[in-house]
Structures are given as C-alpha cells and as structure tokens.
C-alpha cells in the first residue's frame, strides 16, 4: 500500500469524539438548550434596547468609582511590587536554603490559588467595606503573580556571575546587587508592568463584593435596572483599561523591557 502523504490517526479522532461527547453531556447537565438560547437572545434584544443609548445617570458616583479603582490599582501594585521583590528572592532555591524557600513558596502558592473575588470577600470581612479591602486583595494577587515569576526568573540566571561575586568575599547584599539583579531586573519590571495592567482590570471588579472602586457603582446600577447607566460604566471601564494597557506598553518601551508575553 502506498504511504499516505498525511497519515491518519484513529486515536486522535477518538480523542476528539470523546471531547465532543463530554461537551454535549455537560451542556445537557447544565440544561443549556437551543430553545433557551433563542429565548435568551429575545431577552437580550430587550436588554440591549434598554442599554442604548448609554446614559451617565450619576456622574459624581461614576467619577468617584473610576478614580477609586485607579487608586486601588496604583497602591496595590506599589505594595505588591515592594513586597514581591524580597519574596521572590527568598523563594529562589539557588540563593536560599530550603527552610527559607519552602514557607515562602507556600505563601506564594496560597496567594495565587484563590480568585481575587474570594480574597476580597475575606478582606471585606476583616477590614470592612471600602477601598482598603480592595487594595489588600490586589496586593495579595500581585505577590502571587510577581513572586512566582520572579522566583522562577532568579532560578534561571547564570550562576557564573554570582560565583564570581561570591569568590571576592562580597557580602550577600552585594551578591544580589552585582550578581543577581543585573540579570533579572528587566524581567522584574516586565512582570510588574503586566501586574499593574491586571490590577487595573481587577480593581473594576472587586467592588461587586464591596471592596471599593467602580464595581460597586456598577453592581448597584445593575440592581436598580438602570441598564443605560450600566452600559455607560462598562464603556468607561473598557476605555480606562485600554488607556492603562497603552500606558503599560509605553513604560515597557521607555525602560527597554522585552514587550512580549501574555498581558492578560
């Protein structure tokens, strides 16, 4: 038999079939049917009709919410960057003994494993409603993200420079400033700028559980069925985040940091 130019792989097809079967099963479990979808589209048309034209019903509360979201993201990024720097260093296995790295890595894993909204719920209980809870929430998220990536970046550095500095008898701080930082600082700045971006996105959402920012305004407008105001707020959020993304890109450009990666 002549060999085929593109061989057929029955196992791959089986995999596709199983995946598809699971999706159909899941849709049935969730009671997602075509009829409901169509009904939803009908509602959706009404919903969209009430959203347009967008109207800024309470300009004061909208401006305050947006500003508060911005402040939350700035302060949380600042705190997160300041805290993630030592945490990243103390988590690196090539610099620290395991009795230091293990607890630090555990801390970072805990920071990463919960969704910001859940962390926000806990902080709202701890420090009450308002911007403080949002700042703390996003600080935790920043430590989780920057801390993990920074630790990995440090573990990937070339040991040669570190050994050279160590061979001169330099103290630990000089080892960091001359052996480690020059190799990882640009990546750290890159991670930090992505986190600023991500904090800005999340700061618009933590308000839904009472942790300050525009999310609270959005949620109450939604509960009052002021859908035209909801639309205005969502458009404002999208605009703010696009500006923030552009700003982060500028910062990376000015600092000459590698611009590739996922900015999500």
């Amino acid at each position: 038999m002549a060999p085929l130019a593109f061989e057929r792989k029955p196992l791959v097809w089986l995999g596709w079939a199983i995946g598809l079967a699971y999706l159909l099963f899941a849709a049935a479990q969730l009671d997602i049917t075509w009829a409901r979808f169509i009904l939803g589209l009908d509602n959706g048309a009404k919903f969209l009709g009430r959203m347009f034209p967008p109207a800024i019903l309470q300009p004061d509360s909208m401006a305050r919410g947006l500003l508060e979201s911005l402040e939350i993201s700035i302060l949380a990024s600042f705190l997160g960057v300041v805290l993630a720097l030592p945490i990243g260093i103390f988590g690196a296995r090539n610099l620290m003994p395991s009795w230091v790295t293990l607890p630090i890595r555990g801390l970072v894993a805990v920071c990463r494993s919960f969704h910001p909204v859940i962390v926000a719920i806990i902080f709202v209980k701890a420090v009450g409603f308002g911007a403080m809870a949002g700042i703390l929430t996003l600080t935790v998220a920043s430590i989780g993200f920057i801390g993990k990536l920074f630790t990995e970046a440090i573990e990937e550095i070339s040991p040669k420079q570190v050994e050279a500095v160590r061979a001169t008898g330099a103290p630990f701080v000089s080892l960091l400033t001359y052996g480690v930082f020059p190799q990882v600082m640009s990546r750290f700045v890159g991670f930090a700028s992505y986190q600023v971006d991500s904090n800005l996105r999340n700061s618009t959402m933590v308000g839904i559980v009472g942790a300050g920012g525009i999310g609270g305004t959005l949620f109450s407008a939604f509960q009052r069925y002021d859908y035209d105001f909801v639309c205005a707020i969502v458009l404002a959020i999208v605009a703010m985040i696009m500006v923030g993304e552009t700003g982060a890109r500028w910062v990376r450009k000015i600092l000459g940091v590698d611009a590739r990666g996922s900015d999500d």
Binding site: N43, G130, A131
Partner: protein, 277 residues
Amino acid sequence: MTEPATLSTEPGGLPASRPWTRFTPIERAGRWLLLVILVAAVVLSIRHVEVIPEFLWDAPAQMQDLLTRMWPIDWAFYLDGVHQPLLETMHIASLGTAMSILLAVPLGILSAGNIVRSKPLNLVARLLLVASRSVNSLIWALLFVGVFGPGALAGTVAIAFRSIGFVGKLIGEALEECDTKPVEALQATGASPMTVLLKAYWPQLSPTFWSVALFRWDINVRESAVLGLVGAGGIGMALDSTMNLFQWDRVSLILASIFLIVLLAEVLVTAVRKRII
C-alpha cells in the same frame, strides 16, 4: 548600546572623547519623567484614597472571629449542597472554553496580518479581542445574567466571552510567527485557502493552540468558581447563599472544595501538557 564602545577603539581614531554612557539623554529624561510620574501617582493615591484606619486596628479580631466561625468545617454539607454545584462549575469552565475557542479561532485568523491581508479587518478583529479582554468575567457574567437570566447558561457565555480575547490574541500572534515556506509550497500547488490553513498553518500552530486552550481552561476553572456571586451558576451560588445566611462553617467547606478543584485542574493541565506537547 555597543556603538560608543566600538567608536573608542576605532583604529586611527581619536581616543574616546565621549565618556561611555548607558543611555542617551532622551532615554535618561524618559526614565526620570517616568519615575516622577510613578512617585506622584502613588503619593496622590495615598493622600486621596478613603481608608478608615480604625477599621484596620480591629482586623485581627475580625479575622479571629471569622476563623472561629469557620471551624469546624461542616463536612456533612458536601453531598447536599456542594457536590452538584462543583460539577456544574467544571462543566461551565469546559463548555465556556470550548465556546470561546470556536469564536476565537476566526477572530484570531482575522487579526493575523499575514493571512488576512487587509489592515482594516485586522484592526477590527484586534479591537474586538481587546474589548473582550477589557471586561472582567464577573462583569460579563452580570451582563449575561441580564440577557439569559440567572443560571449556568449566563456563566458559560460569560466565560466564553472573557476568554475570546485571550485565546484569539495568542492564536493570532502564533499565526503571524508561522514559517512561510510550507505555506508558499502549498500555495504553489494551487491548494485552496482552507487546505493551506489546515495543512500549512495548523501543524505549526497546534502546540501553541493546545497549550493556550489548556492554560485558559485552568484559568476558567478558577473564574467559573466565583461567577455564581452575581447569579451565573456554579459553586459561587452556593458560596453566596451560605455567606448571606452567615453559615461560615459551610463557607469554609466551599472554599476548601474550590481550592481542591483549582489544584486538581492545575495538576491535570500539567500532566496533559507533558503528554501532548
């Protein structure tokens, strides 16, 4: 950046009259300006943001109160009120990811400048992708609860819409990086555009595609666990109702189970990634 160094060693040239500096004056000015802006932003935010310090002082007491209410965990509630919503959460994440891939692939192709040679179309596709990413999944969920009513359908569509931007952007970038040789070879045989996509682009794209899909599914498991807070189905609904009833021993059970499925999803994704990529 190496230019000044080569200048100074030029044969027959003057000895380095210019001292070596790492940045040009403009670059230095940009860095200073950036520093000033960043410091100003932090200072202004600290002065303006409304924080009530009194609330901070009793935070430890509040946390202690919360923890004592959360303990002991009400394990018995798992079968009645947690198992089914937990499965629902997983279904929402999987279906949402699948739906987002269906919608993101065409947008990703449209956004790739080397496949669709039309700047306006690329721009429109990219704008849609950015818009999808700019709205948080909870806010998408809020909107779709308005459209479809409370329930898993709203959550699934919200997850899908939030993921389109992420998946589409990465697919578009991967397509733009594809090697053009196989593409040209196939085009030279007179192959149809669909064949070129499937047989020239897809083999180069597939590792990225699968890793993006798995990564997004992992993120979506986390996100779908909280969508219920705005009524979009899954374990978040159970979380919301137990919190409203102050049943903190059940809240801790739900948090523990969310932690567990997030962990499981990560382990699963890592294992699958090793096998297929």
